[in-house]
Symmetry: none
Subunit: 189 residues, 4 copies
Amino acid sequence: MKNELTKQSILLFEKKGFNQTSIQDIVNALDVTKGTFYYYFASKEQLLMDIHHDYITNLLKRQYGILDDEHLTQKEKLMKIIHLLITDIADQGPSARVFFREIRYLSDENIETIKQKRNQFRLNIQKVIEEGSKLGEFHNELRADMLSFGILGVTNWSYNWYKTNGEVSPDELTKIYADMILTGIAKRR
Amino acid sequence: MKNELTKQSILLFEKKGFNQTSIQDIVNALDVTKGTFYYYFASKEQLLMDIHHDYITNLLKRQYGILDDEHLTQKEKLMKIIHLLITDIADQGPSARVFFREIRYLSDENIETIKQKRNQFRLNIQKVIEEGSKLGEFHNELRADMLSFGILGVTNWSYNWYKTNGEVSPDELTKIYADMILTGIAKRR
Amino acid sequence: MKNELTKQSILLFEKKGFNQTSIQDIVNALDVTKGTFYYYFASKEQLLMDIHHDYITNLLKRQYGILDDEHLTQKEKLMKIIHLLITDIADQGPSARVFFREIRYLSDENIETIKQKRNQFRLNIQKVIEEGSKLGEFHNELRADMLSFGILGVTNWSYNWYKTNGEVSPDELTKIYADMILTGIAKRR
Amino acid sequence: MKNELTKQSILLFEKKGFNQTSIQDIVNALDVTKGTFYYYFASKEQLLMDIHHDYITNLLKRQYGILDDEHLTQKEKLMKIIHLLITDIADQGPSARVFFREIRYLSDENIETIKQKRNQFRLNIQKVIEEGSKLGEFHNELRADMLSFGILGVTNWSYNWYKTNGEVSPDELTKIYADMILTGIAKRR
DNA sequence: GATGAATGAGATTTCATTCAT
DNA sequence: TATGAATGAAATCTCATTCAT
């Protein structure tokens, strides 16, 4: 039941937004009553926090799976992280959109917790760039911090428009963006 | 008064979100009454629409100023558009954040109007890329559509984190991102 | 201007009701401003009172025109009064409907004034019946009071449904109702 | 509770009118809170619709009870319907007055529904008159439609003035009006 | 585990009226 | 005569949450 409530909530939060979704909406969708909701969740915000926590924890875990693979070059790591984000937003659309859009409705304390994890994710990208620079895979003197934000922008922005069932697959989109980030779009003279 | 209400609303919407900001909050900040608000705005949503409309209209106008300059190469146009976005988000932070975050609270009809203009802005970027490819400034066979989304991601994402008063100026950030987009971060072998 | 305001108000009060019609609605219809309204009327209620007072005063005056005509039998007087009411409701539809429906929105004091005049109108009918009984035009021992209410019911109810432009003219309707009231619908054995 | 809210509302609507009665007034009278009201009714209008629907449904049911009785002549049916209306208005005064006065505050859609039922009630009277004409109980060539409106006027108007506790009982009033309608008030020469 | 009646605080909106100009 | 900005009181409605069962 808790699981069903969470799933249904994600769908509703995505469609109508956290604030526009009432507990009543959620329990109606499952044909149970409000009491049931409060049996499983301490508050509406707690549910939102659960969703956020699950999402970022899972993402971080998978990022570490990439980072910890010693056979990969930094370039490969970066590509795999881009791929991770694109596919995740494509596959878990609703969760991803709730994650990016509704963080504001968490309590200050919870926002802090989530932002820390989000920042950790970004810092890990920054480190890949720094390491790549040092190892000669990437240019020297890159602003790894600014670039990590830029790369996250490229990928995360896709939650605003990207639809899996379009003509471009996640794999293709990954290649398009990785090419742009690694080699640019300008022709060499 | 209408102007003051709009300005104050933007600040509050940015800080607390559209939904979390009550009309009471707005009028309290200016020491007037709710009646005054409704003398100037038909509804809370109408105010939000005004904000959105002003923002995107201004942005589009400035984009066309760049596009219509015949002395510029496509590469230069692209750089100027990136610069336009970065500086705009830096300078008009609150408006920009309201624009990106609160569009959801518009009516379906108004969302449509705004999205059309937003899409026009993106299509204009796409055309620059296509033209650049044709003229030999950029690679051939680029997915100009996907790249236009990616470039917007890089710049627009900055509303989430970028602060003007940090160590990196808008001009510098523009250069960092233009370099990445045009020539990539990977070292050529 | 005062006259135009009154006329327009009657039309709006009929269509939307007194309460549902705002001063704004009224002045909008004449392209003036609220200040203008309050220059001519002390309050919204005062306007309604004016409308009521004009209506019932006019009706009473015309009733006395009938009553004071010494050439008429009581039967003829009754018929003329029925005719007066039917035609008035037909001709002055909006005023009539406002008069019957919106009295509630007058102040207690004003209600009293209007009700007194309305009752005078009814009492005058009652007197015609009593006089007719005494003179042998009508049956003896009629409950003239109850009948006066009944006759007013027949005629006044028409404001609820009667439309002049239908197939039955006010003159025809008067005859139908006068026949019913005077001779009944049952066949004599 | 729902029932108590409805009952109390009818009393308040009668006394002050639908518009002049706030939800606050209603719940204050029962010492509950506004939330309670909205737990039971979707809106203030829904409550009004419930009242209307119940009233006219009950009235129609009782009318059919009369119409379907094959032992009755048309004259008797007409008398019983008059009796039904008079007693109903006398007994259920508040409901009746709300029914006649406040229909305007229903939504267009709901007005339509109620008016259809009201019209059915009237058409049933019209049919009795037509049938009575055919069977020789009533005159030929009566305008049964206009007369049905007139008869309803006689009875329904009583909600405006009739008080049970006066000197005339519902049974007596029924006789007075039935006599007028069937045989008229004029003396036969 | 689950129900559902009840709460209470707050949100948006309406509008008659005032008043300085 | 007329304007229009501003007020303030009240109205409808929403909803997260509680709690006895």
